[in-house]
């Protein structure tokens, strides 16, 4: 029971830090003025064009694809794997489980491997490529290690030593409805959850801010229409 209470408290805290942190950052990004137009050209000349440009950046990592095929392959594997895994995890948070989440289960199950494989590839580059070794600081290594550990502990539960999913789900739903239920205490699960808590806490104070940040990058999200529409903001709005 103590374990359940500790984890529940930590989850509440982590959720609070995560949400407040991210919202705070998004507010800062949207409130900070961008005084001049600086889109990297050729840039779209309409808003719809910008939406399309950003969609390509977020879904297929277009610029990264142009830049470096290895980073792209590993990075894309990791992110798509992560996305599927997270969607699959929705089954712990919804009752009844949404039909498309059910539909994703078989793919999601193996997506964990893609995710970890991508992470390992990215990590290998941090050792093998001299340029990337040079720019890596300890936090860059630890971030990958953390995600690999979350992924592998998850995979262990999925394929090696199963956890009581039904009990886990009632613990999760219990937290959502403030009606605490026992947390099944398998080692793999406890490790998995502890690391997820760490991930949530560091998200808003680390480079993981790239996820919200990419939508605010002026070189990518500005419309190239400054000759037609006078742009002023921040210091440029002052006479």
């Amino acid at each position: 029971m103590t374990l359940t209470v500790i984890f529940a408290i930590l989850f509440y805290l982590a959720t609070a830090l995560f949400s407040i942190g991210i919202i705070r950052k998004i507010v800062i990004y949207s409130k900070t003025p961008q005084p001049l137009k600086i889109p990297t050209t050729p840039a779209p000349t309409t808003k719809a064009g910008v939406v399309w440009r950003l969609t390509k950046e977020v879904t297929v990592f277009q610029s990264l694809f142009k830049a470096n095929k290895w980073i792209w392959v590993f990075g894309w594997l990791f992110h798509v794997g992560l996305l599927l895994v997270l969607l699959r995890h929705l089954r712990y948070f919804t009752e009844p489980v949404w039909f498309w989440v059910n539909w994703l289960q078989p793919f999601g199950k193996y997506a964990g491997f893609a995710m970890v494989a991508g992470l390992l590839g990215l990590w290998a580059r941090r050792f093998l490529v001299d340029r990337i070794r040079y720019i890596s600081s300890p936090s860059d290594h630890l971030m990958l290690l953390l995600l690999i550990a979350i992924g592998s502990s998850g995979l262990v539960m999925t394929f090696v030593s199963h956890t009581d999913i039904v009990a886990l789900k009632s613990f999760v739903m219990g937290m959502l409805y403030f009606d605490l239920q026992m947390l099944p205490s398998t080692v793999a699960l406890l490790i998995h959850l502890a690391l997820v808590i760490v991930l949530m806490v560091i998200f808003p104070i680390s480079k993981l801010l790239h996820a919200p940040g990419v939508f605010f990058s002026p070189t990518r999200n500005q419309v190239d229409d400054v000759r037609e529409h006078r742009h002023v903001s921040g210091w440029s709005a002052k006479p």
Partner: protein, 497 residues
């Protein structure tokens, strides 16, 4: 050519070089004198509490710029940009990898403005702003030509140019500015152009130019200055008034206006398109220098503004003028925004208003260098990528032999000439020669495959830089040619005019 500076060897199949630390750590431009500094509103020399002033300024800059805010937070150190900078490729110095250059500023930002950097500096590589870091800033923020090539390839569009502009602004504010940029800006404020060419000298030069054209062609082609109520005010880099090959471009503009029957004028008050304030990230100077253009246009009562061949000036004109000195409601509604001279010429060619003899350029086998600020920081025409199409279409309308360099070195992938961003000074010659390597390799390819003998550019900095570095790579210095020189050569002037 300085004897002690060697160009790196051209490689037939360029590969990504390995890093060699500190090859360029001693590259530092001359410092601005107190007089240069003060004329721009900066302290004359290093202020006593420079650390506090710098950190405070950094905070102000970041909270006033979404670009900085996002760029400093989001870099994931993926490494995609590491082999994209011509200065890294030419020097192998790891601090010339865009992400490493950003990190010089990011590590300070983290230390003072982020939770992780304040409490776990070692973990995230955060450091105090000390003398060593200050020196690194001075060295490596003056090894960035602000060409934005890195921003094309970064998954978040992180633009190292924005970072180096901020870094230079902070250095200026604590009293350690760069001589080249700050001295030139002083001249613009006081005399009106980068060269410090006063009005009488300018008028004289232009009269001489009219005589030259007359001798050459037998036609009275005018190069007017300060003519009230002309239709067009031409704002062009002052190098066009005297330097080779720039001046042949100016003759080309004059012939275009002449044949199209457009009345035009230069301004002795605003006799400079360049605005080096952008290079040093100074918003106050940026606006002040730009305002001269508006004042001159209103004073002369012109209906159109046209900008000559200059890369960063076109960025400022295209992207910043409307913001800084707009709205341009006093211009002819048919030409409501300042235009590039290439847009004007292209338009006239489309309308059949120019008589061009392509054979006049038959001795030229041409390739075209996309200038960074035109390619990645502005546009021509009414569709994205017009900045690539229009100059090439002009060349093809004026000449029979045109060959593009390899695709990964043109259009938005273009490699900087090596001298942009306020680095076009002799005290940075080693950097300039080495930074030109990727462009020279691409050029060597078309020279070998297509016998190219003419390198065309539409930027005053590119032209000067190429004239200087081509010989280091065993090319003829006079390969570099203004776009409007070949236009001028192709135009068949009407002698009965």
């Amino acid at each position: 050519m300085a004897a002690d500076i060697q160009a790196p060897p051209l490689r037939e199949y360029p590969t990504i070089p390995v890093i060699v630390e500190n090859t360029m750590a001693d590259s530092k431009p001359y410092m601005a004198t107190p007089a240069h500094q003060e004329s721009l509103g900066y302290p004359g020399e290093l202020v006593d509490n420079w650390q506090d002033v710098a950190v405070k300024k950094l905070g102000e800059l970041v909270s006033g710029s979404r670009a900085l805010q996002v760029f400093l937070d989001t870099c994931v150190k993926c490494g995609a940009c590491t082999d994209k900078c011509h200065y890294y490729l030419g020097t192998q110095d790891p601090n010339n990898m865009p992400v490493a250059r950003q990190d010089l500023l990011r590590k300070v930002y983290r230390r003072y403005y982020t939770f992780a950097g304040k409490h776990f500096p070692k973990l995230v590589g955060a450091v105090d702003f000390d003398e060593e870091v200050r020196d690194q800033w001075y060295s490596y923020f003056h090894q960035c030509s602000q060409c934005r090539r890195c921003s094309v390839f970064c998954p978040y569009g992180i633009d190292t140019a924005e970072i180096s502009m901020a870094g230079r602004e902070i250095l200026d504010v604590i009293g350690v500015g760069q001589k080249y940029c700050n001295e030139i800006l002083g001249k613009v404020h006081v005399i009106g152009n980068n060269l410090g060419l006063p009005e009488p000298a300018l008028v004289n030069t232009l009269e001489g130019l009219e005589e030259d054209i007359k001798d050459d062609t037998g036609v009275d082609v005018r190069v007017p200055v300060d003519e009230k109520n002309a239709d067009v005010l031409l704002i062009t880099p002052s190098a066009d008034f005297f330097a080779e090959p720039h001046i042949d471009g100016l003759i080309g503009y004059a012939k275009v206006f002449h044949q199209a029957g457009i009345s035009w004028t230069l301004s002795s008050y605003a006799s400079e398109a360049a605005n080096f304030s952008m290079f040093i990230g100074s918003k106050d100077n940026l606006k002040k220098v730009a305002m001269r253009i508006r004042d001159a246009a209103l004073d002369l009562g012109v209906k159109r503004i046209v900008v000559g061949e200059c890369g960063h000036a076109w960025r400022v004109a295209y992207n910043f003028w409307n913001t800084l000195i707009g709205p341009f409601d006093f211009l002819d509604p048919r030409y409501p925004a300042p235009q590039h001279i290439c847009e004007v010429t292209y338009d006239l060619i489309q309308r059949g208003a120019l008589r061009l003899n392509k054979e006049a350029n038959d001795h030229r086998r041409i390739t075209f260098h996309d200038s960074c600020n035109v390619a990645r920081a502005s546009r021509m025409g009414n569709m994205p990528g017009g900045q690539f199409l229009i100059p090439r279409e002009i060349i093809k309308a004026c000449a029979n032999h045109f060959h593009d360099m390899s695709p990964e070195t043109i259009h938005e992938n273009t490699f900087c000439c090596g001298g942009g961003g306020g680095l076009l000074t002799d005290d940075l010659m080693k950097l300039r020669v080495r930074g030109a390597l990727p462009r020279m390799e691409a050029l060597a390819q078309v020279v070998q495959d297509n016998d190219v003998n003419t390198l065309i550019a539409i930027c005053a900095i590119c032209k000067t830089q190429f004239a200087k570095v081509l010989p280091y790579y065993k090319f003829q210095m006079d390969m570099i040619t203004s776009l409007h020189q070949i236009v001028g050569d192709a135009i068949e002037l009407d002698t009965t005019h």
